[in-house]
Symmetry: C2
Subunit: 183 residues, 2 copies
C-alpha cells in the first residue's frame, strides 16, 4: 500500500500524483487512505517506527565505556545497515524525501522523534536532561550528519551509504577541524 504509493510518486512525480489517483489505483476509497496515513507526505515513510526502535536498540547495546561519539556513530551505521535487496526502495524513498520540497519540509517533523532518541541517549550519558542545550544540539547535529550523508548518497548512487555515514559522523566528532580529518 505504501509501496504502491511510493511507486506512483516515483514514476509520475509526487505533486503530479493525487490521493484520488492512489485510491483509484488501489481500488479503495480516498477517505480510507487517511485511515492508514496521517497525510500524503507520510506515505513515503515506510516503517519509520521500526527505524527508531532499531536506533534505540543499537544505542542501548553500546558499551558505556565507548566514547559518546563513537557509540553514536556505530549505532547509526548499524541501524542503517540493510540487505542489498532493500537498497533500491530505500533509495527511492530517500530520493523523494531529499528532492521533493514538500517532503523535505515534512521530514523536519518526522525526524523530530529521531533527534529525540539521540538527545535522550546523550542526556543519559551526560547526566543531563534531553531538553538541555547539549543533548538537543547533538540531536540536531547527528541528524545533520545523517542528512548530509543521505543527500550525498542520493546524488552519487555509486558511493556506499555506510561509508558516507561514517565520514559524516567522523567529521562531526572531529569538530570539522581540517587538521583532524583525512579527506
Amino acid at each position: 500500500m505504501g509501496r504502491f504509493a511510493l511507486g506512483m510518486f516515483d514514476e509520475r512525480g509526487f505533486e503530479q500524483t493525487t490521493l484520488e489517483d492512489i485510491a483509484r489505483g488501489l481500488g479503495i476509497g480516498r477517505r480510507t487512505l487517511f485511515r492508514y496515513f496521517a497525510s500524503k507526505n507520510d506515505m513515503v515513510w515506510g516503517d519509520f517506527d521500526g527505524v527508531l526502535r532499531r536506533l534505540r536498540g543499537e544505542l542501548a547495546i553500546r558499551s558505556p565505556d565507548a566514547p559518546l561519539m563513537d557509540a553514536l556513530r556505530d549505532a547509526v551505521i548499524a541501524s542503517n545497515t540493510y540487505p542489498d535487496e532493500a537498497l533500491p526502495e530505500l533509495r527511492t524513498r530517500m530520493t523523494l524525501i531529499t528532492t521533493v520540497p514538500a517532503l523535505q519540509a515534512h521530514s523536519m517533523l518526522r525526524y523530530a522523534a529521531w533527534r529525540g532518541v539521540v538527545a535522550q541517549f546523550a542526556a543519559e550519558r551526560l547526566g543531563a536532561s534531553a531538553e538541555d542545550l547539549v543533548p538537543r544540539s547533538l540531536g540536531y547535529a547527528a541528524l545533520a550528519a545523517s542528512t548530509a550523508a543521505f543527500t550525498h548518497w542520493v546524488e552519487h548512487p555509486r558511493e556506499d551509504l555506510l561509508t558516507l555515514l561514517d565520514r559524516a559522523y567522523r567529521l562531526l566528532a572531529a569538530g570539522f577541524d581540517p587538521a583532524r580529518f583525512q579527506r
Copy 2:
C-alpha cells in the same frame, strides 16, 4: 504587512488565522497577499534575504588566518546581533517557527539558502565544491547549532541568545567531546 500577519498569528494562533482573516484585517484582497508572499508560511519570515546578506558579509570579512570554525562562529554571532528593540519581534517569529509544525517544516526550505551560504564559505576555505560532503555537512551542522540555540532561547526567554549561539557553536567545534567543553 508581514508585521500585521505576525501579530495575528501570535494572538490567535497560526492555524486559526486564515488568509481571509489577514486580507480582511488589512483591507486588501486575499489574492493580493500572494503578490507579497509566496505562501502563508512565508509570512512569518521577515527580511530573510537581509539575514543571508548579513551572514555572507560577516563571513567575507573574517581573516583568512582565523580557523574555519572560529570564523564561522563569530560570523553567525555577529549576524544574529540585534538591537534590544528588535528582540521581541524576533522572539515572536522564532517562537512561531520553532513551535508551529507547519512552520517548523517550512523552515527546512527557507534555511536551505542559509546552509548554502555556510557550505559555500567552507568550500572556498577548503578548496572544495559547495556540493561536496564536507562543506555540505558543515552547512547542515551549522544550521543544527543555530536551531538548537534558537529553540533553547525560545523556551528560556531569560537566557541570552548570543551566549547560547556561542555555546552551541563551541560544542560543534569541540566535536561534542565531553572532555573538551565546559558546562
